[in-house]
Amino acid sequence: MKGTPDATGLTGQRISVRTGGRLLLDGVDCRVDSGRTTALLGPNGAGKSTLLRALGALERPARGEVRADGRDLFSMRRRERARLAALVEQDLHTEVELSVRQVVELGRVPHEGLFGEDADGGSAVDSALDRAGVAAFADRAFGTLSGGERQRVALARALAQATPILLLDEPTNHLDIAAQLRTLRLLRDLAADGIAVIAALHDLSLAAGWADDVVVLDRGRAIAAGPTESTLTPELIERVYGVGAQLFPHPTTGRPMLAFEEMTSPRTTAEAEGRGQ
């Protein structure tokens, strides 16, 4: 499955998710292409995590469908689905005493036979530990790690799963700036290998410099989607986040960067209050 993933990406169509009478997602369309990085953006509570879970078929939407290479994810067997898409959740926590390596080995569960046989298991785990930069503390207890280290272990587990689609919820959370850049570069490298990568991100500036495409959510609706440069405009940021934004090229790399300023217009305040409830 390495190198040539058997899916050309993931498509979500008109996804609506309802929990306890509240509409968390309202008819969201989005696509994640193989070989590209997609940033999932939006303010807190916009529905980013919910959309990632729906795209991984971990939450059945009230309406809409998710397809990979034309196939409906919800009609697949669960193990097959878990070999297609891996999810990196926020704030991994367990009471079970496991070593880092044992946590990463869990990524092999969908590949293992009834008696645990898994021919590629050892090498997949070693290379995942290595690529995520956690090999040095592979034998440490997961519970003793810092938040940033746990985040990287979560990524390593997803890599061991060896899926052509990678869904990540705030993968740069808790990381210092060097580790953030390292993680984002690794995700770009994975995309270059042909994997479809979508990551919910908070830092718009990092996202602007990293993502090939963006999907912007606001209060459960996808209000913009497309290539980063043409989609993530100052006007859009102002409308969604209620802050002033300016785009300019990075002095050395030339990739887009953002600078923000608070807006004082009454419209913004009213909007922010409307969202805050």
Binding site: E89, H93, Q102, L106, V109, G116, R140, A141, T144
Partner: protein
Amino acid sequence: MTAPGGTVSAVGAGAPATLRRHPASLAVSVGTVAFVLLVVSVASAVTIGPADIRIADVWASVASHLGLGSTPLTPLRDGIVWELRLPRILTAGAVGAGLALSGAIMQAITRNPLADPFLLGLSSGASLGAVAVLLLGVGLLLPPAAFLGALLALGATLGLARAGGPISPTRTVLAGVAVSALAGALTSLVIFWTATGDSYREILSWLLGSVAGARWPAVAIGVGALVLIGIPLMAGARTLDAFAFGDTAAAALGIDVVAARWTLLLATALLTGSMVSVSGAIGFVGLVVPHAVRLVVGARHRALLPISALVGALFLIWADTIARSLFDPRELPVGVVTAIIGAPVFAALLIRRKTAR
């Protein structure tokens, strides 16, 4: 205790930085040692008691009953070995294995290190079911009745833990205490109501557990449940591993979370019910044994489940041997012995949780 090739070092306030390595070879060695100890324990436990029985007598009796030779034992001595002590010890072993296995599985699927069939009320519920059949003449076989009792108690505990708030390990244990107290009281009530003779003794043996009266039918139920339910449960080892990081993580690894949780909970209720129907509610085996085994072979269930079963059998065989010989000729309910060992372990787990978060 450091495993071969592993290291234990410390950082900061003495927190272990490196987990001991738990290679598969270690699990195999520990399992083999536990199995040999189990065989030796069964044979030597038979020799302990007021009548003077030697290991050679045990062998002679077993051999003659299996048709491997004629017995030089007198019928009386043969009866003590074959009709009294051996079935009692085998029942203790099967019950210990079943309860340890149930505890290990419950701890994983409820993600609750304090889970145990006794603490969550299953054992008391099963006792009530069994007593209802034995004394009230409810038209059911003993094991299914105990299973229904265990299932009802489990449903009540989980329902209560979830009512009015998010389910948490501590809430679950509190709910278990309430369910257990009620089921225990009803069990006592039923026994008292129908009593003709020594009802206190009978109440004690259902509430605290006893294998004093176990004969070959009890062995058949205990070993049968272990083989029919316990061994297939071991195939779920990797599923239990996948639950470590929660439901979403398990689902993302291809586990059918809802189906797996209910299948495994039903199976533990069935296993617990079968065991309690022959032994009453013996506490703490399911709590103490898996935690102790985890310290040695690690948290992965492919090693944890079979070794917990073996160690659970060893634990209860010796607990029962202590229970029947400590105040000889009077007998202590075996649950008293397991509680004396188990309650401090429970307390230690509580303290560790408090410091952890």
